[in-house]
Point group: C2
Chain length 253, copies 2
């Protein structure tokens, strides 16, 4: 399945997590903010590149992107969050009723991009096996603020068998523009995570005897919306990503 | 020599190219623009990341940076260009007489960061041998525009022995946030370069039987100043870089 085929299904209204969809094409996070806040958000991304690698930014009001021909970012995701004053007030499958002419849309790299490379190397991915979205946590590391934006780092956790942790690190480090190598390996408490079974976003997965490994996550931008109480924004729903036409391999170093 | 020691010398007024200075510390390009143009420049950099990898952006009017403790970016470079309406109108060793409260300063990655790794691997660097700045050329590849900014890609050329081209590519590709691997190998005419002995910036070097290899260069921002006729800007003088406290190795993947 191509990115275009997946987008067409979501445009028709299908609401499913995008894990395993169009699995050789890069998926992205989405955050659209009023133009007056676009500089601060772009600077926040620059100052926190591990969490917020920017893959494209639209012109104000535009819903097209260089990453996907014919795509409309206001309709082609399976689910959107609508935010007011830092609170998620609605979840929709079509964001057009909320879209505004002054919105600037940021498409931010997603770690799904390196998951095919992990699977190809024999690294099992629990959330794929369980058919759910990976668990994400707001942790005790503050982002570097920029103007209107501040907030905690958000990480995604994957349980990795001990003998494959090195492989997983080597592979993901080759993808620096989509979060790159992990930010932490092992003890969740060191990140301030009390209970791995209660993620802030996404779904819990079985950890068992595997090592919990934590990668920076683009949902960091949503934590920044909360912390910064921005008056208005539209984002993807965590796990319900935008699928581009860009092959995952294009982001490998 | 540390970055701080080098900066102190330049602050006192020493005007020399920074090649081989504080050779294990990352050097950067500098471009300071009025705040009203900062968003367009940050977006131009995001849209042309190979040429314009942003390592830090100051707050408006500030001359300090997270990359170098105690540094003042308006005094600590050996030479600055002053720009009006896209034309370089003055070259100074102290930019304070021209500095303005509304300037936002961008520090942009420089390929000098991977030169120590090249030398350590036995790849000879002609401009080091000759004690000059590497030759830079404006080429026939347009950058992706952003608001007020457009212009051609600028590349730096290094002659590499044929049996070391693969090594040079492998090593530099590990530094994606400081230009990464080359954008072109071989025939200069394919880039629209008529004469390798007449660079647009920097100094000519002997090529001989080596292969000319071209890396994207942060001076692309100066070509954008020219093409965009920005009313005011301050930059480093090509080859006279800002030296940070960050080890070169920090940018290796």
């Amino acid at each position: 399945m191509t990115g275009a085929q997946a987008r067409a299904r979501f445009r028709e209204g299908l609401r499913v997590p995008t894990v395993d969809w169009a699995s050789r094409y890069t998926q992205t996070n989405l955050i659209a903010v009023p133009q007056e806040h676009a500089y601060d958000l772009l600077l926040f991304a620059q100052r926190n590149p591990k969490a917020c690698p920017v893959l494209d930014v639209t012109d104000p009001g535009s819903t097209t992107t260089a990453l996907a021909e014919g795509a409309d970012v206001s309709t082609d995701l399976p689910a959107y969050f609508i935010w007011r004053d830092g609170v998620m007030v609605d979840e929709v499958t079509d964001a057009r009723p909320y879209w505004r002419d002054d919105l600037v849309t940021f498409l931010i790299g997603c770690s799904y991009t390196f998951e095919r490379a992990l699977l190809d190397a024999g690294v099992p991915l629990r959330h794929h096996e369980e058919g759910v979205t990976d668990p994400m946590f707001m942790v005790n590391r503050p982002c570097r603020p920029a103007g209107r934006f501040s907030g905690p780092l958000v990480v995604g956790m994957r349980p990795i068998p001990p003998d494959l942790v090195a492989t997983a690190i080597q592979i993901t480090a080759r993808y620096p523009s989509v979060h790159g190598g992990p930010v932490h390996v092992g003890d969740p408490a060191a990140l301030g995570i009390q209970d791995l079974s209660k993620p802030d976003f996404g779904d819990a997965v079985k950890v068992g005897d595997d090592i919990p490994v934590f990668w920076a996550c683009g949902v960091t931008t949503q934590a920044a919306l909360m912390a910064s109480r921005l008056e208005f924004a539209i984002t993807h729903s965590p796990g319900y990503m935008f699928i581009t036409d860009v092959p995952d391999t294009a982001y490998a170093v």
